[in-house]
């Protein structure tokens, strides 16, 4: 039915090339043997080896990972609760304020969120560091989790829950045995989204960080300001690989699930 016109194909191809070419170049140059980043000096994994000895980068990576784990988990919990409240509670007092607070951070420039959170921590005289970054990331990413889980809940067939209750299952147990398993894929992808957003964030972390809590983006940013370095190419490639691996495995999992379904149907 659908004929691919040359115009559609070309615009798609150009768009995708624009998106992927810079990343591809970065990945290729991370294997460049030459220290001069602009001259190709043959293939090498030398910069990856040097990363292992860069303690500052490694410790920053460790901080980032911990922040991402903690904030993604907290954001998934809070975001899921928010989605349930928004979808299931109908009208309640303060609903408009609540939903605005959920959607605002999605588009709000990060400098604003970052600055205001920092001023809160200063006003409350909280020592800044790991936990303040985690709180800032949780606040931002819970909104993304909400959007993901909410769309799944809206499409959820309520008669499944009614059927469970009709068969003698009390509300809380119904939620745990019927609703939760069925919205689990959305919760998991919400967690993954929150995790990568946290790994990625520079601005919020810069505002809310304190001594001893330098995250990888903060470290990379301060290095990048001084110019391109092959080590940075290498660490960026690793980060890209991690993200790509996560996505590919997630989509493979769903694919396998689908294939299993189709095969069983036959």
């Amino acid at each position: 039915m659908r004929r691919a016109s040359w115009f559609n194909v070309t615009s798609l191809a150009l768009g995708l090339a624009f998106l992927y070419l810079p990343i591809a170049i970065l990945v290729i140059y991370s294997f460049n043997a030459s220290r001069l980043v602009t001259i190709w000096g043959g293939w090498s994994t030398r910069w990856y080896g040097e990363l292992l000895h860069n303690d500052a980068l490694l410790s920053a990576a460790w901080v980032t990972l911990r922040v991402a784990l903690v904030s993604a988990s907290a954001a998934t919990l809070l975001g899921t609760l928010t989605a349930i409240a928004l979808v299931r509670y109908g009208r309640f007092r303060g609903r408009i304020v609540f939903s605005s607070m959920i959607y605002a951070p999605l588009v709000m420039p990060e400098v604003i969120t970052g600055l205001s959170l920092l001023l809160l921590f200063v006003a409350a005289d909280v020592e800044r560091g790991f936990w303040t970054i985690a709180i800032a990331h949780t606040t931002l990413t819970m909104c993304f989790v909400t959007v993901v889980v909410q769309s799944r809940l809206v499409a959820f067939d309520r008669s499944l829950e009614e059927a469970a209750m009709d068969l003698g299952c009390p509300p809380l147990r119904t939620f745990l045995t019927v609703t939760l398993p069925l919205i689990a894929p959305a919760i998991i992808s919400g967690w993954m989204l929150a995790f990568t957003l946290s790994l990625d964030d520079l601005v919020l972390a810069s505002f809310t960080t304190g001594p001893g809590a330098t995250t990888l983006p903060i470290r990379v940013y301060s290095e990048v300001r001084l110019g391109v370095k092959p080590e940075i190419n290498a660490i960026c490639t690793i980060l890209i690989a991690v993200a790509a691996l996560a996505i590919v495995s997630a989509s493979l999992l769903t694919k396998l699930h689908d294939v299993g379904r189709q095969r069983a149907t036959r």
Binding site: N8, L26, F98, P109, V224, I232
Partner: protein, 310 residues
């Protein structure tokens, strides 16, 4: 059966159910709304050489009486400064200009890509969707950094231009408005493509066939049918791009030069370099006020759509 909105239980919510609502609500109030009120308050304070560097400071323990005392000391000096010093005015205007131009370019590039996706065969669409979303999952910083690689003086772009003998002298890309624009368009493309794709994909193709059947040429059908129906997606895509670009910091900081000072950078400098928190807060409040305009416009267009009874 058409049963009105299934209200399974309108019974009183128990403690657990109330917690579901109140835990995230309290979190957002504390970490999203209250901080803004603090920003507003500090923007009305005076700069001081102290820690924290502003007066009067908050003293929650002193209760409301001190709050009223503090209110009497509010000053609009910071806002007066913003209005009088052209540095601020310029960076606001620059941000608006960059955001508007970038949004327009994004729409021009994003629409054909989204259209191509929506018209691709059904079996290809999920894969294309993943391809568009994938860069979003890789670090923002890395993607900007990748462009530094390309745009620097001895970078690949200049190498290619020289090799093809398009230029004799390597042109300067980095630290220009062009570089900022490339970086912004590159980073925000998925935000424009996805809402456009979502609307275009839902569009019934038989509408175009009906238009053709009624004697409407294809280019005209695009103007008369496709574009009006894609309007919600266009509005959402523009909003999703325009607002964050307005406050963008990382891209102009890394790719831009001294002539591209956007408001995000001004805010950052006031805060981190000049340690002038009250002025930084005032800059934030004005930026927020600027953001309200596009959001209000968007809300209006949405209300009009729903009033049209779609």
């Amino acid at each position: 059966m058409s049963v009105p909105a299934p209200s399974v239980q309108q019974r009183k919510r128990n403690l657990g159910q109330r917690l579901v609502l109140w835990a995230p609500y309290a979190w957002l109030l504390l970490f999203f709304l209250v901080p803004f009120l603090i920003v507003l308050k500090i923007s009305l304070s005076q700069t001081a050489i102290a820690q924290p560097p502003y007066l009067p400071t908050f003293d929650l323990a002193a209760g409301f009486s001190s709050l009223f005392d503090a209110m009497r000391e509010f000053s609009f000096e910071n806002y007066a400064l913003l209005a009088s010093d052209t540095l601020y005015l310029h960076s606001y205007l620059k941000s608006l200009e960059v955001a508007a131009l970038a949004t327009a370019i994004l729409l021009l590039i994003g629409f054909p890509v989204a259209y191509g996706m929506a018209r691709a065969s059904r079996s290809w669409q999920p894969a294309l969707f993943v391809l568009i979303v994938l860069p979003f999952w890789t670090s923002f910083l890395i993607r900007i950094y990748a462009w530094i690689n390309i745009l620097q003086r001895e970078g690949l772009l200049n190498q290619a231009l020289l090799a093809l003998r398009i230029v004799d002298e390597p042109p300067v890309w980095l630290a220009t408005d062009t570089a900022v624009m490339i970086g912004i368009v590159y980073s925000y493309l998925p935000f424009m493509v996805l809402p456009l794709y979502a609307t275009l994909e839902r569009m019934d193709e038989s509408l175009l066939e009906a238009a053709a059947d009624l004697g409407c040429p294809r280019w005209k059908a695009f103007w008369l049918v496709t574009l009006p129906l894609a309007m919600p997606g266009i509005a959402a895509g523009m909003l999703l791009c325009f607002i964050p670009i307005l406050g963008e910091f990382v891209i102009p900081d890394l790719l831009g030069g001294s002539e591209t000072i956007m408001i995000g950078q001004t805010l950052w400098t006031e805060f981190f370099a000049n340690k002038d928190w009250p002025v930084a807060s005032a800059v934030t409040v004005v930026l927020l006020a600027l953001l309200v305009i596009p959001i209000a416009l968007y809300q209006c267009s949405q209300l009009r759509d729903s009033a049209g009874g779609r």
